[in-house]
Each structure stands twice: as structure tokens, then as C-alpha cells.
């Protein structure tokens, strides 16, 4: 590797007040995030050094709230993570690019024409009204995705909206928001899904190191989620797990139990059924995360069905059951009503049975009804 490049990255680090020591330490934590031993830190260091040659990136903003961009851009102090992310030469990103209009669109078409870029998709692909629920520069979102996806080296879907439609896809979804792989399943081989709302920037760093620098796709599950990030439940790594096991629960906000940071299970925490590594990686430059800041997990990492529909109401243990004519009903209500109806039915049946004298033993048929009927119709002897 050229000495110049190596110096280049350390100049970049020095300019941001990051020592080489801090940088190597950070690479150690990236190794941990990737499930590698710290032994791999030097390899990651050299990979990042080598990767200082910028990788062109196209960042598509589809049907979105820009929350994922916010999550990524909220850097109050320049840190090492932002330097790794700086390795992405974002040639096109509507939210932050200086260029506008034709000039901006040219940046996109040129990068796509050159090939060898990373495509990052944020937001849902809008399919409603023939795709016209999202038009950018005269084209539908789906057309832009199709143009950009073909020549991309890898596609990173950041946030639940790009993964499966997210909030935009929640019922009734009139605008037809869908995930990238929902509309283009043929991209499965080179797509990495990073659900949650918003995406955790640390995971993007890990993917940049893993894919772009170490040159391989991570191990992924059937929904294209990296298993190291989405392989265990929040509940299993939760710092409040001890309170759960002890039966110490917050039952209402504004109580002493909340101050004591007891378990939020009864407040509808979706931690037991949500598989992300939020408790260990945390958010906002590793400062805190939902449960640590006092909110139950709302299950934004859920895949297979829309996470909003599967997790709402957010402060309930289970989601509502949609019954025809009644709308959303609590599962506990459904169960209790069914149980009570059965008990009431049996009571009425018991009273009716007693009234008709059945309880002391009913008369027994001497011949099966079917036999009797069919013998008669065949002209049998009785």
C-alpha cells in the first residue's frame, strides 16, 4: 500500500483530533461488532487504510422521513465512525448534496454509468398510483431504483422502510410503500437489509468495513439481515433483564418503579420478540438506546410482517386482533369473551338439559337414525 494513502487517512484522523491509538481501539470495537476477535483489529486497520481510496456511493431517498439520514448525520463531535463513513464518496444524496436540479441528476447518472458503486436505499419504494406517489426529476421511485440497482456492487437498505416498507407500508398503505426486495426480489444476492427505525449508524460502519474493505458479504438470515446484528433478542441482552427475572416491573409511567429503571415488559416492551443488538451497540454514538432511556422497545427491528402493524399498540404486550365489523380488539378481550361465552353456553345448556329431564339419563335410540331412514326408503321390514 502506498505510504501516501496511509498518511492520508492519519492526516484525516489528525485533522479531526483522533489519535492513531483511538483509531485502532475503534477498529477493535468494529471487530467485536462483526463477531471477530480483537486479533482482527490490525487487519481492519489496514483494510480501512487501504480503503482510503474513496468508494463511490449513490444514496437514494425514496418514501421516507429522513430519520435514517438524521441518525447518520447527527455527529456532534467528529469521531472515528464518521471517518470510516467518509470512505464512502457519496456522489448523490438529495438531503445533503450541494448540487440541485440537472446538475444533481447528472451526478447520479454518471456514477451509475461508471459502475462499481455502492447503492444505499433509504425509504420505501412507492408503488401506489402506478408508482406516481413518488416522482423525482420526472421519474418514479421504482424507475430510479431499477436504473441504479443493476450496476451496483452491493445494495444496503438502511432502515425498515427500505427493507419492507416500514411506517409507509403500515395499514392502510394507500401510497403502496414497499421494500426494495419486495419490488425487485432479483437483487437478493447483493442486498444487505438493515431494518429498525431509524437505522443504527454503527451497523453501516460495520457493513462498510465488512463488505467494502474486507471484500465479503456478511452471514445473513432468510431476510438478508446480518446474523451478527440481528441474531439475538433485545430481551436476552437487556440491562433490565435482572429486574424481569426478579418480577420487578414498571406498571405505569411516573412511578417509583420507573425511576428505579425496572423492567418495561408490562408496558408493552417488544424486546422479547425483537432481534437486534441494540443493548450492546446502543445508539447516538453509543450514548444510550430506547430501553436505557426509559421507553419500552417498540419492535422496529421486526421483519416478516410490517413492524408497525405487528407492534402497535406500542404500550401493549400483544397487537390487536382485527375482527370484521369491530376493528382492533385486544387479544385478552377476545380470549376472555370466548371463555365466558363458552361458560355461559354450558350453563344455559345445563339448565335446558335439567329442564328436559336429560340429566338423569336420556332415552337411548334403539336404531341409528340413518339406518332407520334408509331401511324405510328401501322398503325394509320395519
Amino acid at each position: 500500500m502506498a505510504q501516501g494513502v496511509r498518511d492520508g487517512i492519519y492526516d484525516l484522523l489528525a485533522a479531526r483530533g483522533v489519535s492513531r491509538r483511538d483509531f485502532v481501539k475503534y477498529c477493535g470495537s468494529v471487530a467485536a461488532l462483526l463477531g471477530l476477535s480483537e486479533m482482527y483489529a490490525p487487519q481492519i486497520v489496514s483494510a480501512v487504510e487501504a480503503g482510503a481510496k474513496l468508494k463511490p456511493t449513490v444514496w437514494l431517498d425514496m418514501g421516507l422521513c429522513t430519520g435514517c439520514t438524521e441518525s447518520l448525520a447527527q455527529v456532534d463531535t467528529p469521531d472515528v465512525a464518521s471517518i470510516v463513513l467518509d470512505l464512502l464518496s457519496v456522489n448523490y444524496m438529495e438531503t445533503i448534496m450541494a448540487a440541485a436540479g440537472t446538475q444533481a441528476e447528472e451526478a447520479r447518472t454518471k456514477t451509475i454509468a461508471d459502475g462499481g458503486y455502492v447503492l444505499v436505499v433509504e425509504g420505501a419504494i412507492m408503488t401506489g398510483e402506478g408508482g406516481n406517489t413518488l416522482r423525482i426529476a420526472g421519474k418514479t421511485g421504482l424507475e430510479i431504483l431499477k436504473e441504479a440497482a443493476g450496476k451496483a456492487d452491493a445494495i444496503i437498505c438502511v432502515g425498515s422502510c427500505a427493507v419492507d416498507g416500514g411506517w409507509v407500508n403500515a395499514a392502510p398503505n394507500p401510497a403502496g410503500g414497499k421494500g426494495v426486495l419486495d419490488v425487485m426480489p432479483e437483487l437478493k444476492a447483493k442486498t444487505i437489509n438493515l431494518p429498525t427505525c431509524p437505522v443504527n449508524p454503527e451497523w453501516i460502519v460495520a457493513m462498510v468495513v465488512d463488505v467494502l474493505l474486507l471484500g465479503k458479504l456478511p452471514a445473513m438470515d432468510d431476510k438478508n439481515r446480518p446474523t451478527l446484528i440481528f441474531g439475538s433478542t433485545i430481551h436476552d441482552n437487556c440491562p433490565r433483564r435482572g429486574h424481569f427475572e426478579n418480577g420487578e416491573f414498571v406498571e405505569a409511567f411516573g412511578t417509583e418503579a420507573e425511576v428505579k429503571q425496572w423492567c418495561l415488559y408490562k408496558m408493552g416492551c417488544k424486546g422479547p420478540q425483537t432481534m437486534t443488538n441494540c443493548p450492546s451497540v446502543r445508539w447516538n454514538r453509543r450514548a444510550s438506546w430506547c430501553v436505557e432511556s426509559g421507553s419500552p422497545c417498540i419492535g422496529c427491528g421486526h421483519v416478516y410482517t410490517n413492524w408497525v402493524d405487528a407492534s402497535a399498540p406500542f404500550l401493549s404486550r400483544m397487537t390487536d386482533v382485527n375482527l370484521p365489523g369491530l376493528g382492533g380488539v385486544r387479544p385478552e378481550t377476545v380470549g376472555t369473551v370466548v371463555g365466558a361465552a363458552a361458560a355461559a353456553g354450558l350453563l344455559v345448556h345445563g339448565i335446558a338439559s335439567a329442564a328436559t329431564g336429560r340429566t338423569s339419563g336420556p332415552p337411548m335410540e334403539t336404531e341409528k337414525a340413518w339406518d332407520k331412514k334408509h331401511k324405510a326408503s328401501k322398503g325394509g321390514d320395519n
Partner: protein, 216 residues
């Protein structure tokens, strides 16, 4: 007609035992299951979960043993009879059951006056009892699937595939929850219909005390 006879020949001691195991584990599973769903008093979640697991294994082993035993143990196929045959014959559909299912339903809906002719188990009863087998195994499967994400054991893919098929862990949790209500309603109806003509069935199944037909 009066009360049916209930002889030990129809309910061998081993099945009285498996029935007890079923009842006790189901009550325990329902109680700890409700507690895990929403802890309604201060108790150890770990203990509730351990008891829930232990009872599940007992229930599943008991059910499996009960099914295997039905091919070996001989009992009476008719109430009030001492003539025995292999127990599985009580369960398999028989040609005599044909046309009796709807008649049985009609009887319980007061659409006919006379009780229907049947073997030890009526066709409605047979159907309901047989249905408990897949339901019980399904409860164990959905329970394992809910616990699956915490486990990295060899069978995890078998359960995770089910979770993916039903639409994730929330859907799986609700299936497990409503499955419990199905079992509760079954148990209520079962206890009621078994004893509607007197408590002789309870006497034989719990105390193994026979009831002879009147006049004997």
C-alpha cells in the same frame, strides 16, 4: 334410560394415571402461561418459565406415551362391557361412526330427543379427543418457537422456519395465546359433557370407582 355403567375394564388404571398427568400439567401450564403473559403478582419469572417448560415436557412425554400405550393396552370398547380389545380401536374412525356425528350434534342442540348409539366414545367425543393431540403438539411447537430466538441449538431452524411462515414472533405469540384458550374451552366443554348424565365418569377417572347400571 338411566346412567351408563362405568367399569374399570373401560378405563384401565394406567389411563387414569395419564389422565391425571394431563390435567395437572394443563392446569399448571395455563397458570404459568398466564403469568408469563402478564405477571399478575410478584413472583420469579425464571421459576414460572422453568415450571412451564417442565410441565410441557411432562405433558408431551405423557401424551406420546398415551398414544403408544393405546396400541398395547386392552380395554373395553363399550361402556358396561367387560369384553376387551386394543385401546386404539376406541380412537380410529369406524364404520359404525358414519352418520352418527351430525346426529350427536343435533342431540346436544336439542334437535332430537333420543341419545345416539355409540361405542365407548361418541363420534363427537372421539373427534374432540383426537383434535387435542395435534393441538397439544402445536402448543409445544409454538412455545419452542417463541423461546427459539434465545437458543442456538440444532433444532432452531425447524422452529424458526415456522416463525417465518406465520409472520414473525408476534404472530407466533398470539397463536400460542389463543391455542391456550382453545384448550381451556375444550376442558370446560369436556368436563361438562362428560358429567352431564351424572358423575360416574368422574368417579371412574379420578377415583377408579366403578358404577354399575341400575338394577344390578
Amino acid at each position: 334410560m338411566s346412567q351408563h355403567a362405568h367399569y374399570r375394564a373401560a378405563h384401565p388404571l394406567i389411563f387414569v394415571f395419564t389422565h391425571y398427568v394431563n390435567l395437572i400439567s394443563m392446569i399448571g401450564l395455563a397458570f404459568t402461561g398466564f403469568f408469563i403473559h402478564y405477571p399478575f403478582f410478584v413472583w420469579s419469572m425464571g421459576l414460572a418459565r422453568s415450571i412451564h417448560f417442565m410441565l410441557m415436557f411432562i405433558l408431551i412425554i405423557n401424551l406420546t406415551a398415551r398414544i403408544i400405550l393405546s396400541f398395547w393396552v386392552k380395554d373395553a370398547l363399550l361402556l358396561g362391557s367387560n369384553v376387551v380389545d386394543t385401546d386404539i380401536k376406541n380412537w380410529l374412525p369406524q364404520k359404525e361412526n358414519k352418520h352418527q356425528f351430525l346426529e350427536t350434534v343435533k342431540y346436544y342442540l336439542f334437535l332430537r330427543k333420543e341419545h345416539v348409539i355409540s361405542g365407548k366414545y361418541g363420534s363427537l367425543q372421539k373427534t374432540a379427543y383426537l383434535a387435542t393431540i395435534p393441538i397439544t403438539y402445536a402448543m409445544a411447537y409454538t412455545g419452542f418457537a417463541l423461546y427459539g430466538p434465545a437458543q442456538h441449538w440444532a433444532l432452531a431452524p425447524f422452529f424458526n422456519a415456522g416463525t417465518a411462515a406465520v409472520g414473525g414472533l408476534m404472530a407466533m405469540r398470539m397463536i400460542h395465546y389463543f391455542g391456550m384458550w382453545i384448550i381451556i374451552v375444550f376442558t370446560m366443554v369436556h368436563a361438562y359433557l362428560a358429567n352431564i348424565h351424572g358423575i360416574a365418569p368422574t368417579k371412574i377417572m379420578f377415583a377408579w370407582v366403578e358404577t354399575k347400571p341400575e338394577g344390578h
